[in-house]
């Protein structure tokens, strides 16, 4: 098969694109392309990956202008006129080449109180949660996030608002707000109603459009808006 011309971001925030010729293969993924460059052409290329099967969430990059999980993105689906442009994820500082510093993204999970707060100990019986219950179904719709940062990179509000908690952290908060075993819901609701919380979302739905897991963080954020509004009207939140 023919070659493809691949422009790859090199350097830190102030870097430039460098072009490589990569042989085209059948069923080739964008991560395969990056790996070929690093192993066969330029071993100094930095990038991040682990599982290669869409589970770990490490390999997200900007491919032809859109954030994507590169291990599950086939070249045939994204190549334009025989060209690929691969850059680091947007809205994050670049460490080097295709590796970004994701600490800001994960700090927002803490800001949204994304940790489960247990209400019982292992000595007590296992909590029974009816699979068909409304809350469990709501949680089901929001879990399976792989923390890849694609939604963060796709979000306009993240770009505009330095305080914004972001789609992934708010989606996580929403699943915990519907977890009947969780005991931190009052504090978490206050956290997501504060500065940079769910009310900053403009409902552009870029997160839902780009999420490789097919999740809909916009819907979760809308749920948080409803929940905070009810708490406000009851006088539980100021």
């Amino acid at each position: 098969m023919s070659n493809i011309a691949v422009s790859v971001w090199r350097g830190g925030d102030a870097g430039r694109y460098e072009t490589f010729e990569v042989p085209r293969n059948e069923s080739q993924t964008v991560l395969d392309v990056v790996t070929h460059i690093q192993r066969e052409i330029d071993p100094t290329l930095s990038y991040r990956f682990a599982c290669r099967v869409g589970v770990c969430g490490s390999c997200a990059m900007t491919v032809n202008g859109r954030p994507r999980w590169t291990c599950r993105t086939h070249v045939s689906k994204v190549v334009e006129n025989g060209r690929l442009e691969i850059g680091p994820l947007a809205n994050l500082p670049v460490v080097k080449d295709l590796a970004t510093d994701m600490s800001r993204f994960f700090e927002r999970w803490q800001g949204a109180k994304g940790a489960f707060e247990p209400t019982s100990t292992r000595a007590e019986p296992i909590a029974v949660i009816e699979p068909a219950s409304a809350k469990r179904r709501t949680v089901d719709a929001g879990i399976e996030c792989i923390n890849c940062g694609v939604c963060w990179a796709a979000c306009d509000t993240v770009r505009w608002n330095p305080d914004y908690l972001g789609p992934a952290a708010l989606n996580r908060a929403w699943t915990l707000q519907n977890d009947t075993r969780d005991g931190g819901q009052g504090q978490r609701l206050a956290a997501v109603a504060g500065k940079g919380g769910c009310h900053a979302c403009h409902t552009h739905q870029s997160c839902a459009e780009h999420c490789p897991q097919g999740l809909n963080p916009t819907a979760s954020i809308a749920g948080l808006k409803r929940m905070t509004l009810h708490a406000f009207l009851k006088g539980e939140l100021a």
Binding site: N161, P162, A193, H199, L229
Partner: protein
């Protein structure tokens, strides 16, 4: 945006939606009927109904517009400004009070006898 501003903005939008529709209908009616300024004023002068209608309209628009301007500045304003919550607060209040004063003056002008 804080929860309080969010509630005020969505609440004022709820009030504005039917009022804007009624306002448009009135404009179309007045234009289609070819009403003169004098005949319009003849109906609004001394009318408690129109006074309340446009009074509420102006106050809801002042709240809604001021929060909107505040949000645009907070997200799209130049960098030192968008992070300065003091300046943003002053902008919010000045815009809101300014719109309310200008609007209520206009309502007074067409309703007062």
């Amino acid at each position: 945006m804080s929860l309080r501003l969010y509630v005020l903005q969505r609440g004022s939008a709820l009030i504005l939606a039917p009022l804007v529709l009624a306002h448009l209908v009135v404009i179309f009616y007045a234009t289609a009927q070819g009403l003169s300024a004098a005949s319009i004023l003849g109906r609004t002068k001394g009318s408690l109904g129109w006074g309340v209608f446009y009074g509420v309209f102006v106050l809801a628009a002042a709240v809604h517009g001021a929060i909107g301007i505040h949000n645009v500045l907070a997200e799209w304003g130049p960098d030192p400004l968008k992070r300065n919550s003091g300046v943003l607060s002053v902008t919010l209040w000045v815009t809101g009070i300014g719109l309310a004063v200008l609007g209520l003056r206009a309502v007074y002008a067409v309703v007062a006898t």
